[in-house]
Structures are given as structure tokens and as C-alpha cells.
Amino acid sequence: MAIIKTKNLTKKFKDLLAVDTVNLEIKQGECFGLLGPNGAGKTSLIRMITAVSPPTKGDIWVQGNNLRTHSRQVKAILGVVPQLDNLDEDLTVFQNLMTFARYFSIHKNEAYRRSMEILSLFELQNKCNSHIRELSWGMKRRLLLARGLINMPKIMVLDEPTIGLDPQTKYLVWHKLTDLKSQGVTQLLCTQNMEEASILRNRVAIMHQGKILSLDTPQELISRYVGNEVWEIGLNSEERDRTVEELERRGLDFEDVGGKIHVFHIEAEESISGLVSSQGRLRQRPATLEDVFFRLTGRSLAE
């Protein structure tokens, strides 16, 4: 059953079409990744789904409730982790959680219990009485996640939750998100981190210029758009034209990425042999979601 459903969802800012007729169905309990370059419309889409920005056109239903009429009820079951830090700087770490719990009308005793619990979950228990400005970036990100859990949400909406984190913190966050998934919490995650998307996500939608270009499991996207392996050919300039000609003649799917050529959808090694004089210039590696991303959204800067 779809826990989040959008129909012809569109957001327009003056002359910019940020989100263009998006139809999405996110299933109960799944981790859904939203991938796209900067300015693709991911944040605009998320802001509409979290009921803080009204759609220009189209509708959103969360658990069957239309957001236009039931935004308060819907927001009560969402846990939102924003991209930018909007922790309450006038309050301590602990007060941030208690005050947030109060916005959800959670009783004081219960709020206290939950705050303590999620602070230790994110290893912040020693920072209870610290001021927000005393926290490092990594601690702030952890606190933002902790805050998003205060109402025990059915749906977590995360906008780039691991941006700028060191590997230790990043893995801690991934680990917690995996835990949440096993508890049945639906997750909608915006990210530009391909590793994150492939590790955590059941399904991934690739978004570009306001539209969803493709939507499937990471594995399915990879085999559809690039095949399971990518062959990289390192080239010098005199070999380049000849190799491109040869690739075209063999009818292979390739992309010139500047200094290197990526060849996709190679089923058998023979089809690529003899392409270059020295075998050392040929390298085989597993295909990643990043390859799919480049194929779908191009290599030029979007903004």
C-alpha cells in the first residue's frame, strides 16, 4: 500500500518550474531515495510532501489524507531532518528535544524519557546541557536526526542527512537508518551520495529538471542503464579517434568522459578485446549508481 502518493505534483516559482508533474507512490516501510543534481527540484518536492510549501498544482496523500485539508494530522506522523541546521540556538541540546516534543503535544514525562533515549542512541548524552553553538557540525547533524525521531514518526523525511560528515559519523547515521527501516519506518531520503543511495534504498528515483527520469531498485537501474560492469579505456590523443570509430563500428554503448572512455553493457570480454594496443589501458570495474546518474543527468553543471 502506498503511504505517500503524489498526483501531477507541480511547483512553480515565477519563471522556474522546480517540480514538473511528479507522480510518485512510496510504499509503507520502504526506503525511497531521491537522487538528483543541485537544482533538480528534490528539496522543493520534499518541502511539498512535508506540508511546508503548498503545491502549485496537483495533490499529495499521506496515509490516505490529502495534505491540503489534513496537513496538521500528516505533520504529526512525519519526522523531518532538514538539509540546513535549524536547531534552536536559544536552547540547550536537551531543551531542544523537550521543546520539540511539546510542539507535538507529547506529555512532559514521556518527552523526558524519549529525549534521554534518543540522545544516547546518537551518543549525545554527554552534551545534554551544551549550547547549540558549542556543538560540532557532526553533533548538530546527529541532533537534527535525534530531533526528527522525537515524535516516533511513521515516515522519516531526510534531506541530505550525511552531508559533510566524517566516515565514522556517516556510518553511525546509516546504521541508525537501517535500524529504523527494520522497525518499519518508511523513509524518504534525498541524497547526492550514491553510496548512501545504494546501501540504504529499496528504490531510487533519479530526478532532473523537476522531473523523475527513472525509478527502480539501484541494481535494476544499474543493469538497465549501464550493465553490471563498466570498462574504462584510458586513451592518448592519437588513439582516441581510432578507438571511437572502432567502438561505433562494433555498436557498443560508450561515453567519452574526457581523457577516458566508459563502455557499458559489455556481456562478453571478447567484444572489447583488441580495442587498444596496450592491455594496461583497459580497466574493468563494477558499475555504480553514479554511472547511471551521469548517463541520465549528463555531465554538465545543472546550475
Partner: protein, 254 residues
Amino acid sequence: MKFPSWHFIRVWQRNRDVFFRLWHSEAPGFVAEPIIILVAMGLGLGAYIGLVDGQQYIEFIAPGIIASYAMFSATFECTYGSFVRMEYQKTYDAIIATPLSIEDVTAGEIFWGATRSFMTGTIILVIAAAFQLVPSLWALAIPALAFLEGIMFASIAILFTSIVPAIYSFNYYFTLFITPMFFFSGVFFPLSSFPEIVQTLSWIAPLTPVVHLTRALISGDFHLDLLWALALIIVLSALFFCVSLVTMRRRLII
């Protein structure tokens, strides 16, 4: 137009908690300063002035000081205070991602601003009473009036906050609106000392009816015009409250 729900109290509670954590940094402005003005102007300058409308000068200015400092409290809270929360700390963005609506946030800010006016008005009233400047028991109604006044000035301030591009714009608000009101609303001298045209104009300033009402409550000397003053305050409060709900939604919900 959408209206706030009872959830606005959550925003009020948040501001209250912050205030009582940091009250010592706010107290001098709203307690010490009015006492200094009362003593310096009332006793110092007052020694040269003699009686105003049959009163000692310090008696004459005490009600005006209560009304204007109550105005300042709500005004600072809902201009600089609200702007910092909205633009720099992104507090509003965080709150509207919870079950609270932007109207709840706006109303919470306005009612908190009004609470600040109430606190300031009450404290200065007590101090004025200690100086034996409060002869009438009607003065017990002054905290309620200060609260209503606070709703009016907080709403006007929030309206301005919701349309300014940058924090520097508040200079205009203070130099062109608040400060002139402080001087031309009958706080320091009776409006009758001005030419007819200035007297009429000063009734446009929302502080004028508050000063008149406060003065009447302190002296116990009522007349019919005061009903108009009260009606004016109520109408302006309701009007600016509603307008600020709309403009704040326009600013934040994009």
C-alpha cells in the same frame, strides 16, 4: 485567510522558556531604564517645570512611561527578536515542520510580545506605586491594558517584520514610527501644548489612546472620550493581528 489554533501556546511557551533562561540580559532595558527616566525627568527636570495639568511633573509622566515602555517591550520582541528567530536561526522553519501552522507561530509571537508588555507595564506600575504616584485603585486594570496594548504593538511589529528585506530596515521603524510616538503621544507634555493640527495627527499614533487610558486609570479621573480610546485600541489590535497573519504566511510559505 487562515486562523491560528490553540497550538500557538507552544510557541509562547518556547519564548517564555528562553526568556526566563536569559532574563538577566533583558531586565536592565525594561526595568532600570524606565526608573532612570522617571527619576531624571520626573524629579530632575520636574523641579524646573512645576505643575502640569495640576499635577507634579513626575506624576504626570508616570502613566506615559508605563505605556511607552510596555510598547517598547512588545516592539523589540517582535521586530529584532522575531526577525532573528525567523531569518538567522530558522526557528520558524523548524516549527512549521511540526503540527504547528505558520498562523500558530505568528499568534504565539504576538501573544508573547503582549506578555512582555504586560510584565514591563506591571513592574513599572509597582515601582511608580512605590514612589506614591498611583492614587487610584483603578490602576489595577493597567496590566490588562498593557497586555492589550502589547497585542496591538506586537501585531504592528510582526507585520513590519514580515515585509522587511533585512534587519537594518528596523532603523526606519524606530526612527520614523516608535520614537516620534514616544514624544508626540502625550507622555512628557500634554498634547494641548501643540498646534491643533499636531493634536489631531497625534491621535493617529496608536500610543496616544493608551497613554490617555493609563493616565485615567492611575488618577481615577474618567471621561467619555476614553471609551473611544479603548475602542480604537481594540480595533487596531484586531486589524493588525489579522493582517500580520496574512503577511507572515506570504513571507514564509513559498
